[in-house]
Each structure stands twice: as structure tokens, then as C-alpha cells.
Symmetry: C2
Subunit: 473 residues, 2 copies
């Protein structure tokens, strides 16, 4: 096991600078799931695939700082075992041998879980989180632990955007998004309680998904807000991501009583939607002109492909939904503050200086909230969910951006949540599709679906990718 | 901090023998909540109360072995702080200064949490479970950690029944039940996923309750089966227990979105029920004649007090319920095995010899269960719950035993679950009331209530106690 120093010392920004132009059509890393034939016929192997990832980490991570630690030895051992299964023509499934990075909010049996907190330096939970356990069952290779912002709450961390190290990778799943965006890992686990998967996915040029709530088991993920915590999955392609998410569902299911995300073990074939709804979300007002134009152009491509794109101006139901989504930011903070009282208060008991500013703010807000306020917020959330469901008869998904522009030049703020948070409240699936580029930086397109219809949303996401990238006529 | 040796060495049974005749009318420990006046006027103090508990521990624990470790220094410091508040006439609430023992499945910030597993020897979770955190907020004194059976699953542990050291204390909350039953603590936290609170409560002569599911926050309690895990509370009296449970609900609530168990902060006054339903449960067939007679006599007392006691013979709805309760044991094991796959499988990954026999059995059963089997079990559970609710118009509670007799002479089996498990499936409150004695051993009467009507059930439990003990005309 190679332990990188941790906590990562506070380096001057851009000690190692990195800038790469982003091209949505040519990702840095070929999809793992596309290598199956080469693994079978011996032209490539999971071990060789892993070695290339370790090289990428060695080259890129001094600038990106996605990893808290890399377990090269453990990964090599797991990859060799996978090699043998592929050679024997008997891989466990599509993620057998796939290199996976794990957000450091998620427990691992053989590696420390430190949550970017001085309280948890060197801490060993002694068990794998359900998702990690499931991925190991599926043959995946655990590559190491990735940077989270402190307890997935705070706004800063050492990680840099893989396409421009003056910019944030987004948070809180900073390291997982950056690791996949930089081609260091094929798959990475994150979490989303507000915007922590979709936002960094879009910023870092990584495919990302937040499945329906409870559809992927969150056991062993340090809890934050029980009714909002989602497992997040990042992938080098839609196919890698889906296969990883399904491997989790297949081997360990969802949070009981949820049986786990349904669908095929490999990504469903792209499916043309009947119609899509365009959502400007709360973030439109803060979105720059170039990003707006990029989103408009993507919507035009969809329309030109013959799929109607309705919006708030053309459809009263969408207008009503937009209003409710715009409200979400406001009451969602009440829900967050109420539900995070524990465990955050117990961390604060270690000393006021042992937790960061945003945790203090959340606890202060939580102390003011009454049960009535919380109940009212839940009622508004339920109304929002019902409004989404009411559109299921007409639309096969919702189109939005992942963020109000490409990653910002900042290292103490992980960017606006106003595009990603609202669909967290909906509890239905959301996909970050890194299909746009603005000034050579990634800008994510967000495809939102209906609750517990994750596979349908994935099929539409596939069609959207092909359409926006001009892969289909 | 006084660390007792752990793991507790495998002592010969009855190295230190103990036998005490049980008298339901004269508990070993006066209720803490009854001392408020003495604390206020200075005749007694939380610190003095604590010192008496530490003496009891010193005298009794070599035979009972309820504690994994006792934190005398930490407890004294907390008790002194409470002393000052009572002296100033400003206690935080009824549990200010109350000595509390915590089952070693429940995380504590300053004490190790070891789960009776070699995997977790010396493990520090670095945070308080929600319930522990809440009790500290309420001024309670954390006395130490109590023995659990391995991961709250296995059937044995070092603890002995406080009334007869040749007998089991029951499990899995063995130490918490025994600590309260022996008068070492006024309050103790446990868990119940099958029978782990009600059974040991009855065996050890402790008041115990399993509140409605989700009504007390289980954050920081090592999970077992997500839809069955309840926090359990033991008390030296009904009043101590209720005050402790409510302090948890008040300071940290339930599992979001549950607001937390409702009701007054001190136990509601005893309330005469309209009518009660007698349940023989699945366990009647295995219940000895003396215990049956004791239960019959208790039911007679209720009837003699003018409250009708209906049963399967007199009421078709109860007959239907009895049938469904009798089935619960069977499908509940499917639910348990499905839901415990994680985390138990991750513990087993440490090595087959690092987990006990019952964990292997559960995992083996879990490997055979299909989603259809699990779904069918959930449907049967829902039907059971609906049948209970259908009786709410006629009855104010259900009367049963806590176990099929007093604690058995065994140290590798914690006793039958057939009285306590069924109401776990119902997810509604259950109270263990140690009101009966059979051959000088405690036998618990169980009072079951309706979901999220815990306070009403507590009021009926109070009336039942007074009636069975002959305290009211």
C-alpha cells in the first residue's frame, strides 16, 4: 500500500500547474467496458489497464491531487485475479477488473477512511461499505481513496480541476470526479446530498449519476442527511458508469426495503425519447452567456433530431415545476440542517476548531429550526416530487445544465448548487453528461429522469450523448 | 477510565455465583426520577447516586459481568456537573445526572465500541451515536459500555442473569438488561432487531421498551437489518425508562423524516385502557405451566379491575392476528437474512473464523433468498401491521409474556424469540414489564401498543403495573 501523505499539506495553489483543452468527443480514457473483447483475446488485460491508470496517476495527480491514498499493491493483486478470470473466459461480469476510486466518506476495510477531518486521521472502519463490498464481489479493483471536502460538507479541499488547476473540481466528491475526469480511474464512488456528484462530474468532464434515492445501498457511507443522501457514481463513459452502478445493485441491492436499482447489467441501448422538458432551473440567472448558448445549442440539436423540447414558456406543467424547483434551495437547507444535527454535532464536540465554518453554520441553522419548519419543508418537497411525476405521461426526461458554467477559478468554494440541488430533492435519477465545452473547459449537460426508472433515463442519456456529439444522423 | 480486560476471558460458568430471589414489588434500585426532590433539597445528589451505582457494580459485576468497561472518571465528572445544575435549581430535565449504560453496538466518542467481535477490539468510532449524544445533552451520565452478543447476532456472551448466574440474561442486549436488572444503572441503551430488548428485559427484571420503529434515532448504532432495527431502552422503572427515551427524542428526534417519539418528557400518568387483547403469541406452546399460570393470573387481575380482556377465542380479529403473529418467525428470518447481508458479509471477509456460527448461518440463508422471497415477506409483514391497526378502535393494547418462561439455564443460547420477535415485525411499541416472578425468577409481562402511539402505550403500561402489583383498588 502506498500511502500518500495525509492530510495533504496545504500547498500553494498551482504548485504543479495543469491545463488541458477539453474535447467532449475524445475522452482521456477509453471505456473499460469497451475493452472486454481485448481482455478475452489477450490483447489487453485488467492488469495492463491498471498499470496505465497507475501511470496516469503518477503523472497527473501531483497537479490534480484527487487521491488521498493509492493502494497500488492491493489493486495489482485484485487485477491479477481478474486477469485470470478473463483469461479463463469467465469474468464475473462487465466490471470485473475495473479500477475504482472511492470517496473518502465511504468505508473501506483495508484502507483508512478519513473524511478530510482531523478527527478521523488514520481511522479504520474495519469493513467495506455496501457499495465497495458489492463492487469487490463483481471483481472490481479498488484503486484507492479520493479527496472529499470535510465530511462532504465544507467548500474546499486540495483537489484541482483536471482541465485547469486554477479551478475547482467541484465538491464534495472532488477527488472522485477529478480522478475519473483525468482518466486515473474508470469508475469512482461519490455521494450526493445536495450537489456533490452532478456538479463535480460536470466540472471535471466525468460522466456521473445520482440514482433514485435508496436505489443503491448507502450502508457504510458516513451519513449526512438521511432523506437526502444518495450514492453517486462517476464513470469514464456512460457504459462504465451504468455497469458499475448495476453491479452494486445486483450484489447488495438498495437500502432495504428498496430492492436496488433495476435494469440490465450493461447499459441499456440508447433510446430516443418521446419528448424532453427543458429546465432552466434556479441557476439560469447566474449562468454566463457562453454557457447559455452552449445549452441552447444542445437543445437545438435535440429538436433538430425530431424530439420536441418543451419548456416553461410552452408548457404550464413545466412552468409550475420550474417555480417549485426554484424554491427548493430555500427549504432544502432547513431539511439539511435538521437532519445533519447528528452526526455533525458529535464531531463538533471534539472542539470548535476541529470542524470547519460551514459545519458551524449548518449547526447554527439547525438549532433554530422547529419541527413545524421541517415538516413544512418535507411537504413542499413532496409536492415537488408529485409535480415531477405528473409529467411522466408526456416526457421521458428533463434537460438542464449541471452548473451555471464551467468550473470557477476558486479553491475555497466548490461552485453553485443551483442546478444540481433541485433534482436531489426530487429523489429521482440525474445524469451528468460531459458533452459541452465552454472555452475549452467541460460543461455538463444534466439529464433528469423519473424515480425508480433509472434504466429508462440511462437509455435517454445515451441517445442524448449520441445526438449532441453528432454520432447519429 | 477503568478498562476492564476485554475480550472478557472465557471464565468457567459461575466462577462467582449469584442468586437473588426476585420480587417484582421491591426493585433493587429506586427510580432516579423519584429522587428529584432529594436532589433539589440536597439530601441526595447525582454524584452520590452515581457512587452507589459504582459500588453496586463493584459488588455485583464480577458475577453478572454486564459491563465491557466502566468509565468511572468520566461518569464522576459528568455527575459533578449535574450536581451543580440541580443545586442551582436548574436541571436540564428529568434525566439530568441519570447514570446510563450503553450497549457496545452503540458508538461512543470517548470509549471504544467493540461489538463483542475480535475484529473491533479497541476500535474507536470517534463520535457519539445520536441517542448517546442526545442523552449527554439532557445531562445524563454515561457510565460505560455493556456486553452485546457478537454483532447483536450471536447467542452467547459473558454476561450472567443478575438473579441467577447459572442462567442467561437473554440477548443480544445482555449487558444492558443485566446492568439495569442488577441496579447498576438507572437507564441502559440496547437494540432490538428480533427480540434483543424485550427478551432480556423480562429475563433480568428490568423495565424495557422497544419504541415504534424510527421513533428514536438509530444513527451510530451498528446496523443489522435496516427495516427492523430499533433502539431499545431499559430502565429501573417505567418512569426512568420513559424519561430517558423521551430525552433522546427531544434532543435528536427519530430517524429522519420521523420527528421522534411524541409525548410528555416525564412518563404520562397511568391510564386505564378501554379494553385489552390477550395474545398467546407463538410462544404459548413452549411455555411452562407455572409461567402460563402467572400470565393467566395477571390477566385475571386486569379483568377483576373491570377491564375486558379479549382473546383468540372470544374475538375473531384477535384470532386472525394470532395466526399472522405465529407466521412471523418464519418469514422474518428471510427479511433478516436479506437485510443483514451487508454488513455481515464484510465482517466475514476478515476470515471465516473471525465471525461466529450464527453469522455464517444467516449469510448462508441470505445467499439463497431471492428478491421475490424478500418481497413476499415484506407483504406478509405489511398485512400483519394492517391487522394490528384494524384493532385500534376496540383495544388500547395487547397483553403477552416477554418470553416462554423465566431465563433458561444456558450460556450459549439466549432463549426463545417467539414472544418478542412478532411485535418487532409490527414495528409498534412494546414494553417489557418485570411484574411477575416464577420460582423467584423474573418473568416479564409484555404490553404492546399501536405504532407511533408510544405515550398511550406507556400510560396503559403504568396502569397495568399498578394493577398487577395490586397498587390500585
Amino acid at each position: 500500500m502506498t500511502d500518500l501523505p495525509w492530510p495533504v499539506p496545504a500547498l500553494p495553489h498551482d504548485l504543479v500547474a495543469r491545463k488541458l483543452p477539453y474535447d467532449p468527443a475524445t475522452p482521456l480514457l477509453a471505456p473499460y467496458t469497451a475493452c472486454a473483447a481485448a481482455f478475452r483475446d489477450g490483447q489487453d488485460s485488467p492488469r495492463a489497464f491498471l498499470e496505465r491508470r497507475l501511470e496516469t496517476i503518477e503523472q497527473a495527480d501531483p497537479a490534480v491531487r484527487a487521491f488521498v491514498l493509492v493502494d497500488a499493491n492491493g489493486a495489482r493483486k485484485a487485477a491479477d485475479a481478474s486477469n485470470a478470470r478473463w483469461k479463463a473466459g469467465a469474468p464475473i461480469g462487465p466490471v470485473d477488473g475495473m479500477p475504482v476510486a472511492v470517496k473518502d466518506m465511504i468505508e473501506t476495510r483495508d484502507l483508512p477512511t478519513q473524511m478530510n477531518s482531523p478527527i478521523y486521521v488514520g481511522w479504520h472502519p474495519n469493513r467495506d461499505a455496501a457499495a465497495v463490498w458489492a463492487l469487490r464481489q463483481a471483481g472490481a479493483v479498488i484503486l484507492g481513496k479520493t479527496v472529499t471536502t470535510e465530511f462532504a460538507v465544507s467548500n474546499s479541499g486540495p483537489t484541482r480541476n483536471p482541465y485547469d488547476s486554477t479551478r475547482t473540481p467541484g465538491g464534495s466528491s472532488s477527488g472522485s470526479a477529478a480522478a475519473v475526469g483525468a482518466g486515473m480511474a474508470s469508475l469512482a464512488l461519490g455521494t450526493q446530498t445536495q450537489a456533490s456528484t452532478i456538479r463535480p462530474g460536470g466540472y471535471c468532464g466525468a460522466y456521473a449519476m445520482k440514482p433514485s434515492i435508496d436505489a443503491l445501498h448507502t450502508g457504510g457511507v458516513t451519513p449526512l442527511a438521511l432523506t437526502q443522501d444518495h450514492l453517486g457514481v462517476f464513470g469514464a463513459s456512460l457504459e462504465d458508469m451504468w455497469a458499475g452502478a448495476r453491479a452494486i445493485a445486483r450484489h447488495v441491492g438498495g437500502n432495504p426495503p428498496h430492492l436496488g436499482m433495476a435494469g440490465p447489467d450493461q447499459a441499456p441501448p440508447p433510446a430516443r425519447p418521446r419528448a424532453l422538458a427543458r429546465l432552466d432551473m434556479q441557476g439560469w440567472g447566474e449562468t454566463d452567456g457562453i454557457s447559455r448558448a452552449a445549452f441552447d445549442a444542445a437543445c437545438d440539436r435535440v429538436a433538430n433530431a425530431g424530439v420536441a423540447v418543451a419548456d416553461r414558456r410552452s408548457h404550464a406543467g413545466i412552468a409550475a415545476l420550474e417555480t417549485m424547483l426554484a424554491d427548493a434551495n430555500d427549504y432544502s437547507y432547513d431539511i439539511l440542517a435538521w437532519e445533519t444535527k447528528w452526526p455533525l454535532s458529535s464531531y463538533r464536540d471534539h472542539g470548535a476548531d476541529m470542524v470547519g465554518k460551514r459545519i458551524h453554520e449548518l449547526l447554527a441553522h439547525g438549532a433554530k429550526i422547529t419541527a413545524d419548519t421541517y415538516t413544512a419543508a418535507l411537504a413542499r418537497r413532496t409536492a415537488l416530487r408529485n409535480q415531477v411525476e405528473s409529467l411522466a405521461g408526456e416526457f421521458d426526461g428533463f434537460l438542464a445544465l449541471c452548473s451555471s458554467g464551467p468550473a470557477i477559478v476558486h479553491h475555497d468554494y466548490t461552485g453553485s448548487r443551483s442546478y444540481a440541488l433541485p433534482w436531489t430533492m426530487v429523489a429521482a435519477p440525474a445524469f451528468a453528461l460531459p458533452l459541452l465545452a465552454v472555452e475549452e473547459l467541460p460543461l455538463g449537460l444534466q439529464l433528469c429522469g423519473f424515480r425508480d426508472r433509472d434504466a429508462e433515463a440511462c437509455a435517454v442519456a445515451g441517445w442524448l450523448r449520441d445526438t449532441v456529439l453528432g454520432r447519429v444522423a
